[in-house]
């Protein structure tokens, strides 16, 4: 294995060696290396296999655009596939594996796919695998899926931690190359709060690979480091630009530091933005241009100068731009033999002179047409003005021109513009407050980038309102040539000339797509999968558009580009989720008595965000046993229920009565002080929104309760009506859900419980009749007792200031001991209301009207309430409209189930039936399974069958009144 590390130079820290493993072998690199630079330093050139043909692949780039060198990091729950080795900061103990190969990277059985390439051309799968039989595809697909995909994902939960942050800055500068550094300096000097974001772990961008720019860079960094208004975020990729000038940032932890979070997602609200995102070099298209050892020329220069790695000794560089020469000179200076094939006929004489002095052999008007060698490049075939020739080599450089990294600038829909002179797309007209500077605009030299950055930084600060005087830009002191580069001639007809390395899309594939009519670049992308890899086509996009434009005979600008979508670089799903996972996924909402329930044997249940006691284990081993026992207990003695989750709204003001009278379908104008009333609210379309009770506490003060589920909706709705519809009403609404603990005491002994618990309050039937209110205090907190029944028993809702909720609960249980007061859960609560025929969520399903719920009489003589007009539409009055009924199981040993479909006894069991069972329970009183259902009003029979195909069950049921219990209400009124 070759040692490609140069004895000196580079920005690596040779005092800190770092051991790592790749495919099971140990290697050594230095702090400051990337995995890619360390692999190259160790002479590892074969690092992966391609997606479709499993061709051997090496490292092409030195950055985020890397299409080939994808590795899997870590293992178990920490397994992370498809990571570009060029973006992995080397750290001790790093373990990487190559992927998409079996049994080994060197010998991959699926490499045979390459032999069948003509069969596997673009879109081949649309033309076959269609038979025999309808499900044939499922068989083929099984194998295709296994072959596709790149690395393997983890099967275990990710054990690492992620964080999300919010941030704000007056000016955000994306990219810390020459333009970005200059922009940040100018903006900060102007007085703006500046945030400079850089994806690399070092600041400097292309300047890091420029030996002549090191002084400038050091000076700049020193100055920026001392500016108070400037913050730096390294290892941070701005991956998306969203509406509202919001940027999505992803920061990686410093692998050398002990960080609690692996990655941090920051949502950054920016005033002005400077995009100094640079450019990536464009590959050249020739046969076998994907062989390991074929690299971007600028990447070679980066490995050489930044990482002190000489990836080859005999180098051929294909050039369409002047930048290739810098790579050639630096290679030659480090002892490499360099041949430069410049596709241009005209070359800057100064460069030529320098080439001669450096010993670089330059061939003008010459193209590389083919690389040879299998697992590594051995030679290239060239075609020059004097005909074809061949050169042995172990490294090939590609300098096909530059592609501005304009992705972010177009995430909000700004269309890129084509610039003929540099054969590239640059950002289109940016909206106010956004600026682009440096190579992203096509700037060819560092000096030009700095000048643009300086201007953009000042302008962005000014746009954000900061215009203090700014010092002149500090320009780098070295010369660069910047002749326009040549438009690449694409070698149509040559085999295996790849345009998109990762997706294995060649020129042939593009030609085929065009032949078949997939001419739009969007069709091209979708048909060939071009640009759809993890690199999102950063190196392939322009070459592909050029190919299609050439095939169609249209100009580049007419061919256009595909839409750039966030994220600019892949972002872990877990990083965006941050800490909102597991039990933190959503906050918990706990009643004041929550801890008591948990400590006293309640099985808790999630109800929206709330936690509620489902049942108490003291009543039975499981819910089915317990809830029936709880029901019996409520009906025979007394039960205590935590109802703090009900929505509670204070309605105050001189016009509150008028307001409620409109809001509720049934009338509230006549409600007297000290009395409560059940009310139903409709939506504007006449469908029931919610139900609850409202109590008139004082002349201008009401206490409304809503269902647990609809509390927030009702609150907003009331505010809407007051703000928008009826601003003339002097009414104030405030949510007091958190203010009051609520508990209900129900059962024949409930009054005795209350009398014992609150001896100072008269709770006699006369003083506190059904729907009556008494007020008092409990341990310094306000106390409201409203006599309301959900269960059909005599029952009281007790509201006490939340701080005393637990105390009141325990007090009631203690004082109610003689009456055998025991707590019960929501399962029993739901069952008790079914026996009483009270409708709830399963019946109020967003499709039912008042009449459907059997409450048409409530509004018989009313108008002017919400939902009155549209509630009279023909569909709501149809004779087969489904209405709430009671159902009683008519077969012993069987039970009704929610979700069963109702049919007439003589009907075929198909279609949608006459209705359905909505809620069911076993009724200890009746000794049967009973339920509520919605049944067509024109159904005349008194018996239905409830069909439940999921359990192959058919149960006969009698249609009865929904009020199973105490139809005269003697229990609750007594």
């Amino acid at each position: 294995m070759t040692d490609n590390r140069l004895p000196s130079g580079g920005r690596i820290d040779r005092s800190l060696p770092v051991d790592f493993r790749f495919d099971g072998r140990s290697y050594a690199g230095f702090k400051g290396d990337t995995l890619a630079s360390a692999l190259l330093a160790n002479g590892v050139t074969l690092v992966g296999r391609s997606f479709k043909y499993h061709r051997p692949r090496g490292i092409i780039s030195a950055g985020i655009e890397e299409p080939n060198a994808l590795v899997t990091l870590g293992a178990g729950g920490r397994r992370e596939p498809n990571v570009p080795a060029t973006m992995v900061e080397l750290s001790p103990g790093l373990t990487a594996e190559s992927q998409n190969r079996w049994p080994s990277l060197g010998f991959d059985l699926q490499g045979i796919n390459g032999l069948f390439a003509p069969l596997l051309a673009s879109g081949f799968y649309y033309k076959t695998f269609m038979g025999p039989g309808r499900r044939a595809w499922m068989v083929y697909e099984h194998f295709i899926r296994k072959a596709a995909g790149l690395g393997m994902a983890a099967m275990e939960a990710d054990p690492d931690r992620y964080e999300t942050r919010h941030d704000f800055a007056d000016v955000v500068v994306v990219g810390a190359g020459p333009a970005g550094l200059a922009a940040a300096r100018a903006a900060a000097q102007a007085g703006a709060r500046v945030l400079l974001v850089e994806q690399d772990f070092e600041l400097g961008g292309q300047m890091l690979a420029e030996p002549r720019g090191q002084d400038w860079l050091a000076g700049m960094l020193a100055e920026l480091g001392s500016m108070p208004g400037l913050r730096l975020m390294r290892r941070t990729t701005a991956f998306g630009l969203y509406d509202g000038n919001t940027l999505g940032l992803l920061s990686h932890a410093d692998p050398g530091a002990k960080a609690a979070a692996r990655q941090v997602f920051t949502l950054l609200r920016a005033g002005g933005i400077v995009f100094a995102t640079g450019a990536v070099e464009r590959p050249m298209v020739f046969s076998n241009n994907d062989r390991p050892g074929v690299m971007l020329a600028s990447a070679i220069r980066t490995y050489l100068n930044r990482f002190a790695v000489l990836p080859g000794r005999k180098v051929v560089i294909g050039a369409a731009a002047d930048s290739a020469y810098r790579t050639a000179f630096d290679l030659a200076a480090n002892g490499a033999e360099v041949v430069l094939a410049d596709s241009r006929a005209e070359i800057d004489p100064q460069l030529l002179g320098q080439a001669v002095r450096s010993g670089v052999e330059v061939h003008a008007g010459t193209l590389i047409v083919k690389a040879t060698g299998a697992r590594g490049v051995r030679a290239v075939e060239l075609e020059g003005r004097s005909g074809p020739f061949r050169r042995q080599c172990d490294l090939v450089g590609m300098a096909g021109g530059w592609t501005p990294v304009l992705h972010l600038t177009s995430h909000l829909g700004v269309k890129p513009q084509y610039r003929q002179d540099i054969d590239a797309f640059i950002p289109g007209g940016l909206p106010t407050g956004q600026f682009a500077a440096g190579a992203v605009t096509g700037a060819a030299t560092a000096a030009e980038a700095v000048r643009q950055g300086h201007r953009a930084g000042s302008a962005a600060a000014a746009a954000a309102g900061y215009d203090r005087k700014v010092d002149a830009a500090v320009l780098p002191a070295f010369e660069e040539s910047g002749l326009p580069h040549a438009v690449q001639a694409l070698p149509f007809g040559r085999k295996k000339a790849f345009v998109d390395f990762q997706m294995d899309v060649s020129l042939d594939d593009i030609a085929l797509a065009q032949r078949e009519g997939y001419e739009s670049v969007e069709h091209l992308k979708r048909y060939t999968t071009l640009g759809m890899g993890t690199d999102q086509g950063k190196t392939s996009n322009v070459n592909a558009v050029r190919a299609m434009a050439a095939l169609r005979g249209t100009p580049m600008e007419a061919a256009g580009t595909t839409t750039f979508r966030p994220p600019y670089a892949p972002v872990a799903v877990g990083a965006i989720a941050g800490r909102a996972k597991g039990h933190h996924f959503r906050p918990f909402r706990r009643t004041p008595m929550h801890d008591w329930h948990v400590a006293n044997g309640a099985d808790m249940l999630e109800v929206g965000l709330w936690m509620r006691p489902w049942y108490f284990r003291s009543f039975g081993a499981d819910v089915d046993e317990a809830y029936v026992a709880e029901m019996r207990h409520v009906r025979s003695a007394a039960g205590l229920m935590d109802i703090s989750t009900l929505g509670k709204i204070a309605v105050e003001g001189p016009d509150a009565a008028t307001f409620l009278d409109r809001v509720y379908a049934n009338g509230f104008a006549s409600l007297k002080v000290g009395r409560a009333r059940y009310g139903v609210m409709l939506r504007d379309d006449g469908i029931v929104l919610d139900d609850g009770t409202t109590t008139r506490i004082a002349e201008n003060s009401y206490f409304m309760t809503t269902s647990t589920a609809k509390a927030a909706d009702v609150m907003s709705w009331l505010e809407f009506l007051l703000d928008v519809a009826w601003p003339e009403l002097r009414v104030s609404v405030t949510s007091v859900t958190d203010e009051w603990a609520g508990m209900s005491v129900a059962g024949p002994k409930s009054r005795a419980v209350l009398a014992a618990a609150f001896p100072a309050i008269d709770v006699s039937n006369e003083a506190l009749p059904h729907m009556g209110l008494v007020e008092g205090t409990f341990r310094g907190s306000r106390l409201r007792i409203v006599r309301l029944s959900y269960s059909g028993e005599r029952a009281y809702e007790i509201y006490v200031g939340a701080s005393q909720g637990l105390a009141a609960w325990e007090h009631l249980l203690a004082m109610g001991k003689d009456s055998d007061l025991r707590p019960y859960g929501v399962e029993a609560l739901g069952a008790l209301r079914i026996e009483k025929g009270h409708v709830a969520g399963p019946e109020i399903d967003g499709r039912t009207t008042l009449a459907d719920l059997g409450m048409a009489r409530m509004v018989a003589k009313r108008s002017g309430y919400i939902g009155a007009v549209l509630g009279q539409r023909p569909a709501f009055l149809a004779p087969d409209r489904q209405r709430v009924v009671g159902l009683e199981c008519a077969e012993s040993g069987k039970r009704l189930r929610g979700g069963a479909i109702l049919f007439a006894p003589d009907e075929a069991w198909q279609g949608h039936g006459r209705g359905r069972v909505t809620s069911t329970t076993f009724s200890p009183d009746i000794g049967k399974s009973i339920g509520l259902g919605l049944l067509a009003a024109d159904f005349a029979g008194d018996e239905v069958v409830a069909v439940y195909p999921m359990k192959n069950e058919v149960v006969r049921a009698r249609v009865v009144s929904p009020v199973f219990l105490d139809p005269m209400g003697e229990r609750m009124h007594g």
């Binding site: 003509p118 595809w137 979708r526 799903v573 996924f585 569909a875 039936g913």
Partner: protein
Amino acid sequence: MGSFSAFSLLRHAIGGNRHWQRHWRAASPKPSYDVIVVGGGGHGLATAFYLAENHGIRNVAVIEKGYIGGGNVGRNTTVIRSNYLLDGNTQFYEFSMKLWEGLSAALNFNVMFSQRGQIVTAHSADQMDAFSHRANIMRLNGIDAEILGRDEVRRLVPYLDFSDTARFPIHGAILQGRAGTARHDAVAWGYARAASGHGVDIIENCEVIDFLRKGDRIVGVETTRGRIGAERVGLAVAGHTSVLSRKAGLELPIESHVLQAFVTEPVKPLVDHVVAYGADHFYVSQSDKGGLVFGGNLDGYNSYAQRGNAGVLQEVCEAAVALMPNISRLRLLRHWGGIMDMTPDASPIISLTPVPGLYLNGGWCYGGFKATPASGWCFAHMLATGEVHPLTRGYGLDRFRTGHTLDEAGAGPFAWLQ
């Protein structure tokens, strides 16, 4: 146009793939057609195909302002299912499912319809009841459905969060085995190729600017490529239905909203089903290329921009990790938006209109992809006969006046909440 098969693939491969032809003809507009379908998306192309295939009407043009399949058919998460509750929806979507099952063969184009099954998790007893109700309705209508207990779900999809720290524990699930996914672009291309083969003109890069009228009647369209006459004009431009309808003087109960879709980097097979999270807005499947394709809720405000906001990105990723803690390290590759016609009951509109000569297909909300074949079938019937197809009787525009809405979720007349 030559038929596609393994043999043709081999024959062409030997010939260096140089003799494949365009999949659909590049047509220029004729002065007039029997029927013009505006919109070269899945629904419009399917309509054109069935006009020719079922009704023998071949003098048909599909007019597309951009490239075909560039709208929602090429932007959705490709889920196909027929698990609908309400009378009208159930039968329509099951009919569509049956058409899907024979679609590759009917089109001689592999649309990669893969019946991998859809699982929707349930997180409460009430939700289990609601799913049972749905499953019972499905079975009673001849549609496959199963209710799974927690352990059965765990056997099928062990990577979901079955731990003690799950915020909303999984109680069970509803499964439709015949549900699945298809290759969305291939649906547009397959219909285009088959329609073109029947003589239909597919006219791309041709935008409708206005309608041509004779008295009250619409008799064609004015386009960026000239005037084109037609006996009947059908709109199939979901997302932009309001914009075009206004030109015809039609007022609609439609709002345009954005729904985002997300795809991760490709990985080896991980998710074999379509899985949806019953406790929040998240659904996921894995494409044949290996990427996890997922989605969530609408962005929540009227929008004609085919991009989404960062808030929904966060919501969706949170739900993703809550349901599948193992995908936390997987990386999101792209996310984008599609514009939905949202209706006040989340059900579609295939309807005659008050404007003679104009027929409407729209309002597909976020469920249009799965409906593509049946929508095309029934809309073609309407355009051919002038009559409502029996399967779409519930989809008329008048239902909002009469109250016969089909509100599966019961969310009410609030497009952004549907």
